[in-house]
Symmetry: C2
Subunit: 454 residues, 2 copies
């Protein structure tokens, strides 16, 4: 039997992830020690309530309500409390005392990342956070290390399992948003309060973390443009499917180039987007996550797997724990996060993408020309137009209402225009849509959706 | 401008990958230095012929034919010569002198890995080899670090782009093996001598590397069972497609459990296999690679991307170079490869999988019962049988030949039996197939294919 140096591991939090990490560490300790080259001694698990129910049973004597005291003397502190406080204060204390830190706390990293990374750099400690994005999917380490010699141009991520489940149900089962959310709740895929998921807050935090890493630039979460899935309707999902797309909530991080091809800065955003059915992201179903990535030399890469859940996330946390232990054995200070590129973080208005806009217009001559004029006035180039006559309640185009085709009456027959654009700046497109909405020849702007992955 | 400590980088080889790495290092040196926290000074590129054509232009004064001398004093040696010698001798010399080493040399690692890793551990150097498997796809680092706290149960990898391209053409374009190979050559996806690809040698080397990492156990390449794609026919591919499968050349690494569920050991093998069309690996087209992985806690993960090519592979090499530089800056010895589990490496006979066996038999009563008896005698459990009457050259089952249905004449009508089995040991299945081939009631065993990913 090999004798290892023992490292003292403190776990903060015993929720779905924390309880699993503690339990797996106790169960597989000898195997992990072999891989780490050091013993991993669990010195305690800080909890709020000693008697709360846990998803995995833990020895009572390991539990404590005194997190601050538990940290003292720990070599590695694993933070799985979540939220901003007391997680922030406890992690600053842990790093300040020289401990390496493992965390799955996306909210904390997206909000106070620079403060934590700076302190770690000062004291030579290291912060590991593979579990903060994509659950068990290795994405932080590939971005931080494997692609460190390449230039990442673009990330398209399905990073929120709850919303992917809901959109997938709407697409494949024909459910409404509300019905799909209810199903997600019943299956334990949505929390009692799903606001952070369906409004895109969770995805935006992950986008901030991915963009910061990929572009070596601090991208704070409040610079991430955010639209959730609350406005997505079953009709939109069905229309998208007919047109060869699926709607996915994407976290998008990209380098923004100017008209001259020079790099202007970077942007991060979260919104529902049309993804062509042939794109690898379109095949990501249920609560799974995937990160699709375009790099200059590596080309297209995709990482796919379970994006959440206590057990998968515990896998990522334990991987970080072994990495931290190996670093302790090897000695030397940690490697600072590289944010030295510090490119400008651009607002959503500077982002260029393709759009698919659905309008209801009166079905009479001259309307299409006027609509096309609005696009061209705003510098938005139209790629394709599909027109279909709406069935009027009074009997459709062939019915009584059909008689006033060519008339100007507002109650006359209407048509649906679906306009696909070439790449345009969000700012120009926004002004164009405002002008369309205000125009006499447009009854209603039904939807404006961005197209990604073409 | 920040001043960094300079690290001396020597590159051995200026082929498709080497020339790209040198060129990108010269072009992006300042950016890489920011990320590494150290300058990366290219001190030279060792080549066989100073005047050979290169895929990227390099300053003449950097080229040298004296690799041994170039290594002296280098902090990081990047080996991109390929093959066993002189690569092995040069890397041993580099590691012996305390340099960290980056290599893409799968043949060398699969054959002499332990010798290199042992020396590196002795002197406290580190070996990086992300580019050896899956080109630009980060797979070594996820296995080595991200999954270090988990238990990998199974890897199914499409790790050879040439054969995936060929099988994909046979499936999607209906080409024969020879025609598809010709197309691959024309497009530069197959080498002039494609033997190592189509016989599975390249994939077997990668399987050995993946299995060694995943199971913390030395798995030498000569313990990897290997079958190439040379026997795969267009008829098999077409029949597979009709039955809901695609044929892929898979590198399979797995833990082998006994009947009692206890772990007996590990195995690695390479062979063509039937993959259900709904499996993520079935959607990997062209020269792309993908590694699908099942881990105890993480669940199913997949990593996908460009598996070869000078530029993508250079991305992986440069990522390793930055990692090596960061380690140099941090100081301390390298982390030894963990092979301490040293599980038994089992022969192919111990592997259990499902099979799909196609037999031609006389179309007469009692044949199916006899065939079923052969399976049961060998302990192979049949899951499903599909029978179809062969069209006889003389006019098919309804034609003149149909008259002797029920006769025993060898020239009578025949049927095709496709038998799907439950999981069975390769050893038992092999004996069963031998018995079928020798049986009076079997005219011919057309194909025996393993089914993976169910």
């Amino acid at each position: 039997m090999i004798e290892y140096r023992n490292l003292r591991v403190a776990i903060l939090g015993a929720g779905a992830v924390g309880a699993q990490v503690a339990s797996m560490l106790l169960r597989n300790g000898e195997e992990l020690a072999q891989r780490a080259g050091a013993g991993l001694e669990l010195v305690g698990v800080a909890v709020r309530d000693l008697d709360a129910p846990r998803t995995a049973e833990l020895p009572r004597e390991l539990l404590t309500t005194d997190a601050e005291r538990l940290i003292v003397g720990a070599d590695i502190v694993v933070e799985l409390i979540g939220g901003l406080e007391p997680a922030r204060t406890l992690l600053l204390q842990a790093i300040g005392s020289g401990a390496d830190v493992v965390t799955a706390n996306k909210a904390l990293l997206a909000t106070h990342g620079p403060e934590l990374f700076d302190l770690a750099e000062q004291v030579g400690a290291q912060l590991y956070y593979e579990a903060a994005v994509g659950g068990a999917i290795p994405i932080i380490r590939p971005l931080r290390d494997s692609l460190a010699g390449d230039r990442v141009d673009r990330i398209l991520g399905i990073v929120n399992g709850t919303t992917n489940f809901i959109l997938d149900r709407m697409d494949r089962e024909g459910e409404s948003l509300d019905a799909a959310l209810t199903t997600a709740r019943e299956l334990g895929y949505a929390e009692a309060d799903p606001t952070a998921d369906i409004t895109g807050v969770d995805a935006a935090q992950k986008a901030a973390i991915l963009a910061t890493l990929a572009f070596h630039t601090s991208v704070p979460v409040d610079s991430v443009h955010r639209e959730g899935i609350t406005e997505v309707t079953h009709a939109q999902v069905a229309a998208a499917r007919r047109a060869g797309y699926v709607i996915k909530l994407l976290a998008i991080c990209e380098r923004v180039l100017g008209a001259d091809g020079a790099q202007r800065g970077v942007s991060a955003r979260v919104h529902p987007a049309l993804v062509p059915v042939g794109h690898p992201l379109a095949t990501v179903h249920g609560v799974n996550n995937a990160v699709f990535l375009e790099a200059e030399a590596a080309g297209d890469l995709m990482f796919y797997g379970a994006g959440a859940g206590g057990v998968p996330t515990a896998s990522a946390v334990l991987g970080d724990l072994v990495s931290a232990a190996r670093r302790h054995v090897a000695g030397g200070p940690g490697v600072a996060e590289s944010t030295r590129a510090e490119l400008p973080v651009l607002p959503i208005g500077d982002v260029r993408t393709r759009y698919r806009i659905t309008l209801h217009v009166p079905d009479r001559p001259g309307v299409l020309a006027t609509v096309a004029g609005v696009f061209s006035d705003h510098g938005v180039s139209v790629e394709a137009v599909e027109q279909s006559i709406d069935e009027s309640p009074a009997g459709g185009p062939g019915g009584p209402g059909g008689a006033d085709r060519g008339d100007t009456g507002a109650a006359g027959p209407t048509a649906t225009l679906v306009i696909g654009t070439h790449e345009a700046a969000e700012r120009d497109l926004g002004a164009c849509v405002d002008a369309l909405a205000a125009s006499d020849v447009v009854d209603r702007v039904e939807s404006v959706l961005r197209v990604e992955g073409l």
